[in-house]
Symmetry: C2
Subunit: 432 residues, 2 copies
């Protein structure tokens, strides 16, 4: 590796960052990939970790392993704290790093809008740590119920509220209903896990709002068949350790006693965006030019969920395929710029949308193609296993699924003693 | 389940507790199994989790799942705090529980002898949380080295000290050497992981001291072939965040700069033993009668690593097969006592000893049979997969191993961002 080559720094190794790095494989540049974790996370399957269906390593590949054959790339475990575009520096917890071109791909994090205090009582699902935390909370709720003699408390332990009817909320709700009705059904002596309530609250008029109305309706029916209570037009007003309060239309606020509230309602850009010194959009995302660069810093590119871009009146969505495409495109534009050539505008190719609801229930929309129910689920499964990185993960993930499918068992059901102690210490005082 | 049946409480669901519970399957008793985690842990493979070869769920089965078909058993996630033998009560974090007979099977935990302060800098390996902590530390050490410019610091990051030459220490040292020499060898750009030092310190004259001298010697040679530095007769005098000090014989103390010290040197009985109100042995274990009961409380049985029992001059060892046999035997004696029949003395059947050193290197001693090298390793692998609980674990574990074996890759290599932040906060100040 020659030291006089231009230095391209990529911050974040999700779909955007990873595909940017790979696209630079044969470019005459030095690449440094920074991530605050050591792994690329296959986020579309993160809910399976949260719901104990897959182990954490099944959806995470070490970044070093993925990039091991790329001789021009160095991988560093580091947390980028701020960017100084004027000096072309990234400041990190392992020191400052100078760049000639920067690709910022740190993505989004869970947003609680104007209620950040809900984070403690309604965990979101963006990182592997989030997923393990969610898994712990769900499993502990059933354990607490088994040891609980007070019937009202027991029902609150067995009530799961999921806020947000997008793909994440729908996946969590459907899988949770399956766990209660099948996986755990015969394993308890004092409680009947089948009596657990799974309540999905969506503020808008329908679940899966980015899909067609017919698909939304199919998803809603599939959820109800699985035993999920679907509340649309339900706006969450407050969440605490004992449940949540919501309103539907102009009706009086209603209270749902639940000891496990899961959050799938919103994301915002990661905080590093605020250090770029420009005005962000409402979601904390960075407005980019058509070529994915910053208006005043053409050597800085932003890709994936952190980028805010509208093409012909349509916003590029915060989904994995868009992040991949943006990562590749930014890499090409970095090379063009370093050569002194013109950059090209990004074009988003929409390959369609997939979502799964639970066992045998999926929703697929690709162009005019619509698949629901079992065919949708099979397509979803095939696509996700195909895109999972690394031979090992793909094979074992398929086996895990096959096992879960036929046995209804979910093998990654772990609560450690430390978790339990910690949970006890974090227990909130009863609300007044 | 009839409420008037005698109530047998089992505390701890390792090998002893689990086999006690299973042996009570057809007995006319109510069984309650308490554990502070929700899983039975296959401890002989825990080092594989610590060394990123297996995921946590691969070596842990939910206790509820294992006992789901046993209609007379209730499983509760609870931490037993003390036993009150006079009142026949167990006090737990979910309230007091009365028993007619008690089987105490809480096992052992890591012991730092008279230096408990070493716990923070030299993690042990007893629980799943321990294993994940060890994995994190080892992976982070390589990551720190890659980002480190100071050569002395870098070498300290790449020096791994393992204290204790028993099976755990030998397994850790051998696997760690393999990781440095094969798994990670080509994944770093600034450091050569092959330059990592793995130093195994054993206080006694030979590694694997419970095996024959010839097997010990074979193990020592296998370790050296793998690249491990084996120091026997090396007594650790001090450990801090920057390394350890040790002496060999009467020589002057020597310093080993290492940022990663792993502890495999000793265990002691779990603290609940102290609440029984009797004198424990030096290792904090509970002296039991020949039938595994307490002298003054014949309705209380202690099994597994927590029990101290000598039969015909030989101490029953703290190994999984002994715990299983004791668990089963205690269950039989519980039933005998409740019937008013006589209990029988426990007899330990020694099926031999197995240890693994690393790739293709195992040590097996069964009666007069001795297997070393590849045959020893194959036997060890077969035996461990066979005894792994649950069909799924067995199959996928075998696949994981097959994958690791042919690829040298270890798939469970995960460091989360939270880990990193936490590690930074816990960073010890430089020693003076």
């Amino acid at each position: 590796m020659q030291e006089d080559l231009a230095h391209v720094v990529i911050i974040g190794c999700g779909f955007g960052g990873l595909h940017a790095a790979k696209a630079l494989r044969d470019a005459p540049v030095r690449v440094t990939v920074l991530d605050r974790t050591n792994h690329h996370l296959f986020q579309p399957l993160l809910y399976q970790v949260a719901m104990a269906g897959l182990s954490a390593p099944s959806v995470a590949s070490p970044i070093r392993y993925v990039l091991r054959k790329q001789s021009n790339a160095t991988v560093l475990l580091a947390e980028a704290q701020r960017v100084d575009p004027a000096q072309r520096m990234v400041h990190t917890d392992i020191g400052p790093i100078h760049y000639d071109a920067l690709i910022l791909a740190t993505g989004a994090r869970t947003s609680y809008f104007s209620s950040p205090q809900w984070e403690a009582v309604a965990p979101g699902l963006k990182t592997l740590a989030d997923a393990l935390n969610m898994r712990k909370r769900v499993l502990e709720a059933f354990e607490r119920a088994e040891a609980q003699d007070d019937l009202a408390e027991r029902q609150a332990d067995l009530t799961f509220a999921i806020v947000g009817g997008g793909p994440t909320g729908v996946e969590l709700a459907g899988t949770l209903a399956e766990i209660a009705r099948h996986t755990l059904a015969d394993e308890f002596k004092r409680i009947d896990p089948r009596s657990a309530r799974v309540v999905l609250l969506e503020g808008g008029p329908r679940v899966l709002p980015t899909f067609s109305e017919r698909s939304s309706e199919r998803a809603r029916r599939a959820l109800i068949t699985l035993g999920v209570e679907v509340l649309t037009g339900a706006r969450v007003r407050d969440i605490d350790a004992h449940g949540l309060t919501y309103t539907v239309g102009d009706e009086a606020p209603q209270r749902l006693a639940s000891r496990t509230v899961l959050w799938g309602a919103g994301v915002q850009g990661t905080p590093i965006a605020t250090t770029l010194g420009l005005t962000l959009d409402r979601g904390g995302r960075v407005p980019v030019q058509a070529d994915l660069s910053l208006a005043n810093h053409p050597e800085v590119f932003v890709v994936g969920d952190l980028a805010s871009l509208t093409i012909e009146g349509k916003a590029v969505p915060g989904v994995a395929p868009a992040a991949k495409q943006m990562g590749k495109h930014a890499a090409r534009n970095v090379v063009a710029r370093l050569k002194g050539a013109a950059t090209t505008p990004f074009r988003y190719r929409d390959y369609g949308s997939l979502a799964t609801i639970g066992r045998n229930q999926g929703v697929v929309e690709i162009g005019r193609l619509r698949l629901w129910g079992w065919p949708g689920w099979a397509f979803w499964l095939f696509a996700h296993v195909y895109f999972l990185i690394g031979f090992r993960n793909r094979l074992v993930t398929l086996l895990d699924w096959a096992f879960s499918y036929f046995s209804f068992e979910r093998y990654a059901r772990i609560i450690s003693a430390d978790d339990k102690r910690e949970a006890r210490m974090q227990e909130a005082p009863p609300s007044s």
